[in-house]
């Protein structure tokens, strides 16, 4: 007795391959659409964070390593010998979590431990931790040589937003 076509399709090897191929095609199409749709509509997703500096700084881009070293105070001078005045976000802020993992390559807790080591061995103190994006912007606007970071959607005020190269 012959089986109904749909039965053969659901059990046969060729039928399963076809179904998998169709599902894969849909998945890939979906991913492509997901990626290109904001571009097609001119809506690039906002970055998770933006690095800002005092408006008087001539720089337009900076490397991730430089930003990390400046926040950790391994590097304390800009290329023109001006002092870097870094500022950090609150420990419990989402932007700090993202920034720590992506730029410093450590968790917020690990960075905190790093500063405990520095503080109690007399090797330095952490940058000031400010309350909000607005406070960071004010600090950077008012301190020549300042460097900070804010949420991707926050207003940067009169500060200069730098491109970060990875």
């Amino acid at each position: 007795m012959r089986e109904a076509p749909f039965t053969s399709l659901s059990r046969g090897g060729e039928g399963r391959s076809t179904r998998l191929a169709r599902a894969a095609l849909m998945l890939v199409s979906g991913l492509v659409l997901l990626v290109i749709s904001p571009m097609a509509f001119g809506e690039a997703p906002p970055p998770d964070y933006r690095v800002i500096v005092h408006p008087g700084r001539p720089d337009t881009r900076v490397s991730r390593e430089f930003v990390a070293n400046a926040l950790l105070k391994n590097i304390t001078r800009w290329s023109n010998d001006e002092a870097i005045r870094p500022a950090d976000q609150r420990v419990d802020s989402a932007v700090r979590r993202t920034f720590s993992e992506r730029v410093l390559k450590r968790s917020v807790q690990a960075v905190k431990t790093y500063w405990q080591q520095r503080i109690f061995s007399g090797r330095g103190v952490p940058p000031p931790e400010l309350e909000s994006d607005e406070a960071i912007v004010r600090y950077v606007e008012n301190n020549p040589g300042a460097l900070g970071y804010i949420s991707g959607t926050a207003a940067a005020g009169k500060t200069k937003v730098l491109a970060v190269t990875h």
């Binding site: 304390t76 001078r77 390559k105 450590r106 807790q109 690990a110 431990t113 405990q116 007399g122």
Partner: protein
């Protein structure tokens, strides 16, 4: 101190206007408990002991962009060590000419290995005790800090990472009780030289550091030995009739350590291998105490992981071998398997729990164990520790 620790979370956050003088004040208070089996370790720990306290308070201030000054007062009690006597843990004036060249003068912590500078800082690590094979609490007098000068710098190397160096020279001050014994009074301890350095290569692989440290020092200890001791030597004709009470004990030493650390995201893995070569010379010569050279091999592997914001388990295995192993030489080695956990209760308060399984007696002291020779103390023993620290 506790008011500052338990103040609202912003107490440690400097805002634009909250620190107009630019003076940073930080501190910590630690209290521990130690319980050991079969032997007393570091303190009279067999029945449980709370003599495991550390307190520190520091003040630092930047004067302009390049000059800074600072000092830390520290007191501790660990069995017979410390007894709450406050002392300057470090003090300095620091001038940073460039990122690659800074000069520091004063009493500075010695950069020996990855963690020597943190040996007093409970909040800066997961374990209660750093691996004692390399960071021995009982060697704190020699290894913690020096008074003199230091050159340091950080040199970015572009695609090959960065180079971090420290070079120092000066002296150390050692309490005379460190080398005292019932038959010998210490008149003076002189350190003719102390010099060393550390170089760390921050590799392009984020979190991976490779380094090496070297330290050279010499101790000259001037003793007055007891009349009974001298008469005993004369009676056995070990020394001549004109032998006096004054002795000089000279100990030149060379210490080095190779270091490897991977610290990225929530993981920290570290391994260090060290050799300490010490010579002993007593003048005038006493034949039963001949000149000797000894090389100690010390190493450990350690790992920790921040499983959640509030808990970080860790473990290490540390080995310390003095001279050549042989039969009945349990006091020549120490093997330490430690399991530890750190619990961060609040951003400024933590608890730690730690267990050690020990093999060997090199880390033990006869004086804490009814003057029993360390060669005959139990070879296997355990330690349980609990510690809490508040810091700001």
């Amino acid at each position: 101190v506790f008011c500052l620790v338990f103040a609202p979370a912003r107490a440690d956050a400097a805002d634009e206007g909250s620190n107009p003088l630019g003076v940073e004040v930080h501190g910590f208070v630690s209290q521990g408990f130690m319980l050991s089996s079969r032997v007393n370790y570091l303190t009279h720990s067999r029945r449980g002991n709370f003599e495991f306290t550390e307190v520190g308070l520091n003040v630092t201030k930047s004067i302009g962009d390049r000059l800074s000054v600072g000092m830390q007062l520290f007191a501790r009690d660990l069995g017979t060590i410390g007894n709450y006597r406050p002392q300057f843990d470090w003090f300095y004036l620091d001038y940073r000419f460039k990122d690659w060249l800074g000069l520091r003068a004063g009493r500075t912590k010695l950069p020996f290995g990855l963690y020597n500078e943190q040996s007093d800082i409970d909040s800066a690590r997961v374990p209660i005790l750093l691996p004692q094979s390399v960071y021995s609490i009982t060697s704190r007098d020699f290894l913690l800090a020096q008074t003199g000068f230091e050159l340091y710098g950080y040199v970015p190397l572009g695609p090959v990472g960065a180079f971090d160096y420290r070079l120092y020279g000066g002296t150390i001050f050692i309490e005379s009780t460190t080398f005292a014994s019932p038959d010998a009074h210490v008149n003076d301890i002189d350190v003719p030289y102390l010099a060393g350095g550390r170089a760390l290569w921050r590799t392009p692989l984020d979190g991976l550091t490779v380094g090496g440290s070297l330290q050279l020092l010499k101790l000259d200890i001037d003793y007055t030995v007891s009349d009974a001791f001298v008469e005993g030597l004369k009676a056995r004709e070990i020394v001549g009739p004109d032998f006096g009470n004054r002795l000089t004990y000279k100990i030149p030493a060379v210490l080095w350590v190779g270091s490897l650390e991977y610290a990225a995201h929530d993981v920290t893995l570290a391994a260090e291998y060290s050799r300490w070569r010490t010579e002993s010379r007593i003048r005038p010569v006493i034949p039963i105490y001949p000149d000797s050279d000894q090389t100690a091999t010390r190493w450990y592997v350690m790992g920790s992981y921040r499983a959640a914001t509030w808990v970080s388990p860790g473990a290490y295995y540390a080995v310390w071998q003095n001279g050549v192993a042989g039969p009945n030489t349990r006091n020549k080695y120490q093997q330490d398997l430690a399991v530890t956990a750190r619990f961060d209760v609040t951003p400024n308060w933590l608890w730690k729990l730690e267990g050690h399984y020990m093999r060997g007696t090199a880390a033990l002291r006869s004086a804490l164990n009814a003057n029993t020779s360390t060669a005959t103390l139990p070879r296997e023993w355990t330690v349980l520790m609990v510690k809490t620290t508040a810091y700001f």
